[in-house]
């Protein structure tokens, strides 16, 4: 027993060192940030993608254009009217989780009117309707609640990310606290994660420097890695273009949603630039592992900034870039 005890202890970190480094735990996040800065009645705004989209439009926050919604079985029959002339679109559940139930149609067969999925497979009207019925029945939503479907314009992903992801195109997660971008990351799916962007299933997490939009480091299964396991691309070459725009878009989600502590997921459209994909009122903590930095020192600096509300969005972004960038600015100070 005596021999084993130290070995068990080495598997656990010293909580005081962790606190010293400003690593944030679940309890602190829940009590001191989500509980304190996120008002309960605002949660539906982010849990329901349709509501998110509505407020985004109202606040002129760039987001994918909504073609229409399917809210009941009656609408399912009329789905062709809703789609109209669109040849490429995306159907997703309003309260979906983990990217499930998302159907991407990239073209229509000119002869028989069949829809062509991103995989190249063709489906007919009947298949499309059945997918919508499944969404309405809550097959893809959290806890199986009844749901409705959103039909959106398709995003044309920026090519800069090609080769960084095994399947699909990654989005950028920016944690925004009180309107200040705090920490950023990208989750890259791998074959190990079965194409899912879930870190503990084996997706690669890449910490992104708030200052430059460049990769800080990449981790898979909590260990630093250099190359993408499937595509062998050097992960340190990953750079998010239009970085200031991305951050400004993320920062403006604070005014839009009223939530003090959110995770914003942003995609880059080839033509339209950064667009808000969805918001998360309970962003996870793995972002700290990807960035090799604790969230708490950054959050506390913002909390100490008592007059933070007076700053405009570009000023806040500039402030975050200045203070939360990865490398030292000692030379110019």
């Amino acid at each position: 027993m005596k021999l084993h005890l130290p070995r068990i202890l080495t598997r656990y970190a010293n909580p005081f060192t962790m606190a010293d480094d400003g690593i944030m735990g679940m309890n602190t996040r829940n009590i001191s940030y989500i509980g304190r800065y996120n008002k309960r009645h605002l949660f539906p705004l982010v849990d329901n993608k349709l509501l998110t989209k509505r407020i985004a439009v109202a606040h002129h926050v760039a987001t994918t254009k909504l073609i229409g919604t399917v809210q009941n079985q009656h609408d399912v029959q009329n789905v062709l009217d809703i789609i109209g002339d669109y040849h490429e679109f995306c159907i997703k559940p309003a309260q979906g989780s983990g990217g499930k139930g998302i159907l991407v149609i990239k073209d229509r067969n000119a002869q028989n009117g069949h829809f062509i999925k991103s995989s190249g497979e063709e489906i007919n009207n009947h298949d499309l309707r059945r997918h919508l019925t499944n969404i309405l029945a809550g097959l893809f939503s959290l806890g199986g609640r009844q749901d409705f479907a959103l039909i959106e314009e398709l995003i044309h992903f920026d090519n800069v990310f090609s080769g960084f992801s095994y399947d699909g195109v990654p989005d950028t997660r920016v944690i925004v606290f009180q309107g200040f971008p705090i920490m950023c990351m990208m989750r890259l799916s791998t074959s190990a994660s079965d194409g899912k962007a879930n870190l503990h299933q084996g997706a690669v997490g890449v910490g992104i420097c708030v200052r430059t939009g460049r990769a800080v480091r990449a981790v898979q299964f909590n260990e630093p890695i250099e190359f993408h396991p499937d595509t062998d691309r050097r992960l340190s070459e990953l750079t998010v273009p239009h970085w200031r725009q991305v951050l400004e878009l993320a920062a403006s989600c604070y005014e839009m949603s009223g939530l003090g502590y959110i995770g914003t997921d942003i995609v880059l459209d080839r033509d339209k630039g950064p667009m808000l994909l969805e918001l998360n009122a309970r962003p996870g903590l793995a972002i700290q592992i990807c960035n090799n930095a604790g969230l708490l020192p950054r959050l506390k600096l913002i909390e100490a900034l008592t007059k933070r509300q007076r700053l405009t969005v570009p000023e806040r972004v500039e402030f975050s870039m200045e203070h939360f960038g990865v490398w030292m600015k000692g030379a110019e100070a």
Partner: protein, 587 residues
């Protein structure tokens, strides 16, 4: 948001109030902190028989038992048909007085007293008797003096003197038999002691022996030395009241008569004897909680007000239900602890507690096997149901019926095979099980079976912990007897709800981060980020106004610079320090 100070104040009040309630109950009702302590209770019934001569008003006065150390009288009742009953105090002694105008024929009166053995009872109604100057007629006086002188030579204090006297009287001698013919043995001992200027008195005791019937009052001698006294058996010389199985209760301790009947001078029993008092006694082991209630009842009768802070004032049926309810917070406390402090993942917040409650009915092993079997079969059937694309309500309802069928099948099969333990699976909460199956199958689909196993194992772990806690006799005793404990648990849960520290599982989860954050600096940073940000924060706090202005102006300046170099990609700060800062990531 309530300020921390108020919160901690309220929590502290809850905690202290709960503790005080528990202490109050412990003190007033003597509810022990630990279970399993039984107390001894003696019922003593005195039967008074007499037959008055002719029709005459009768006044029967029967001495009440003395107040004495080691015993507490918790109850007294009388049974006497047609008599008026009154409790009176005459000459410092308590009596029960029965009165009746018209009495004829043999009469039987009953007085019953319940005594609790209580080692903490120290009150005594015994008083030091005065010395009696009596001159014994000869030849008794000489014989008494002889015994006294012998005993005096062999003794050091009144107690040893008394035992010497008793020993002298046990010797077969002519003078002893002379004296014992004249006096009863106990009164003789008292006379000898009195002649030696030692305070002594004859007292009457009842020997406590279980199921003994019709025992007479027995004589003992109380010998005083100052305020202390000892009781001697004049026949054997045994000192002190006997403890153990044959305890003795002092009934008359002030030289007062046990029974006094007036108005029926020739009161005799039919057999020709004079009025007779006999004692019948019975021993009970009662729970210390009931004993405490009885004792508190005595104090209450003497004027003290108590609030019954226990569910034992409820009817038995309701008590049983309530005891289960009162156990639940203990399980909840464990869930809160394991989830907030340890960070165990469970499927459904309080499902493990409810499962633990049903384990209480079924036994741990049977419960575990049953739980795993039902969830397993349920998951298989549920996976088939998910192919049907049912709506949620219909799906859940179907799962409930499936669970009922599984429970039914298990019960019937096990009964057929003669395993009655199988019948106990019906104690499982069906709705909770159905929701667990539903939730687990969703987790299975969304996050894979690893997560299901993790949550399932977590749930079972929490349920077993909850079961072990709730199954403990001590815990059951505490929750059902100390309502104040609920407040204490509430305050503990409130405090834990405020815990912002790391969970135990997070220490493991962030171990690589905690290791790497120190070992590999990001980029070419020379100062660790947390200390740089802390320095900046201190700077800001030191002079909030000016530092804020400085930083704001810095930001505005860079924005202006950025506006001037239009056409740039919008990545500022690239000009200074774009040296390969990413090298850190590939280290």
């Amino acid at each position: 948001m309530v300020s921390r100070g108020v919160f901690y104040f309220v929590t502290a009040i809850l905690f202290v109030a709960g503790l005080l309630m528990m202490v109050y109950q412990h003190v007033t009702y003597e509810v022990p902190w630990l279970p399993g302590q039984a107390r001894d209770l003696w019922n003593i019934e005195a039967k008074i028989e007499f037959e008055p001569a002719g029709n005459a008003p009768v006044d029967v006065r029967f001495a009440l038992p003395a107040v004495q150390p080691g015993l507490v009288q918790v109850k007294q009742t009388t049974s006497s048909l047609g008599y008026g009953v009154d409790y009176v105090n005459r000459n410092g002694s308590n009596y029960v007085e029965w009165t009746k105008r018209d009495v004829s024929g043999p009469q039987v009166l009953y007085y019953r007293a319940d005594f609790l053995i209580d080692n903490e009872a120290s009150q005594s109604s015994m008083k030091v008797p005065p010395l009696r100057e009596s001159v014994e007629p000869e030849p008794y006086g000489t014989a008494i003096r002889e015994i006294a002188d012998t005993a005096m030579a062999h003794s050091a204090d009144p107690f040893s003197f008394a035992s010497q006297v008793i020993r002298e009287l046990q010797k077969p001698s002519e003078s002893n038999s002379l004296l014992l013919n004249q006096y009863s043995r106990s009164s003789l001992v008292v006379r000898i002691l009195q002649s030696a200027k030692i305070h002594a008195r004859e007292i009457g005791v009842v020997q406590l022996e279980n199921y003994r019937r019709h025992r007479p009052l027995q004589s003992r001698v109380a010998v005083f030395s100052g305020n202390k006294y000892q009781i001697f058996d004049p026949a054997t010389g045994m000192s002190g009241l006997r403890s153990g199985k044959a305890r003795e209760v002092i009934w008359t301790d002030n030289g007062n008569p046990l029974l006094n009947i007036t108005g029926a001078q020739a009161a005799k029993t039919r057999s020709g004897q004079s009025a007779r008092v006999t004692f019948t006694m019975m021993h009970h082991r009662i729970s210390s909680i009931r004993a405490g209630m009885l004792k508190a009842g005595v104090d209450k009768a003497s004027g003290a007000e108590f609030i019954p802070l226990s569910i034992s004032s409820l009817p038995i049926d309701e008590q049983a239900i309530f005891k289960m309810f009162l156990l639940l917070p203990v399980g909840i406390l464990i869930v809160v602890f394991l989830r907030i402090i340890v960070g165990v993942k469970t499927s459904g917040t309080f499902m493990p507690v409810l499962i633990a409650m049903s384990f209480l009915q079924t036994d741990l092993v049977v419960g575990l096997i049953g739980f795993v079997a039902i969830i397993g079969i349920g998951l298989v059937i549920r996976s088939w149901l998910s192919h049907l694309n049912l709506l949620l309500i219909a799906r859940i309802s179907a799962v409930i019926i499936v669970v009922i069928s599984i429970l039914g099948t298990v019960s019937v099969l096990s009964y057929k095979f003669g395993l009655t333990v199988g019948l106990k699976v019906t104690f499982f909460p069906m709705i909770i099980l159905s929701w667990t199956i539903e939730r687990m199958s969703i987790v299975w689909e969304e996050e894979g079976y690893h997560e299901v196993l993790k949550q399932g194992a977590g749930s079972i772990f929490v349920a077993v912990c909850g079961y072990l806690a709730m199954n403990s006799l001590t815990v059951q005793h505490l929750t059902s007897n100390f309502l104040g404990l609920q407040l204490v648990i509430l305050s503990l849960i409130l405090v834990m709800g405020n815990y912002t520290g790391f969970r135990l599982t997070e220490l493991k989860r962030f171990k690589p981060l905690a290791f790497q954050i120190r070992k590999y600096p990001n980029g070419d940073q020379k100062e660790e980020e947390h200390s740089r940000l802390k320095r900046e924060r201190d700077e800001l706090k030191g002079d909030p106004h000016n530092v804020y202005r400085k930083w704001k102006q810095q930001a505005q300046q860079s924005l202006k610079d950025l506006g001037e170099e239009t056409g740039e990609d919008g990545a500022p700060g690239e000009s200074n320090g774009s040296k390969d800062h990413k090298s850190g990531s590939s280290k």
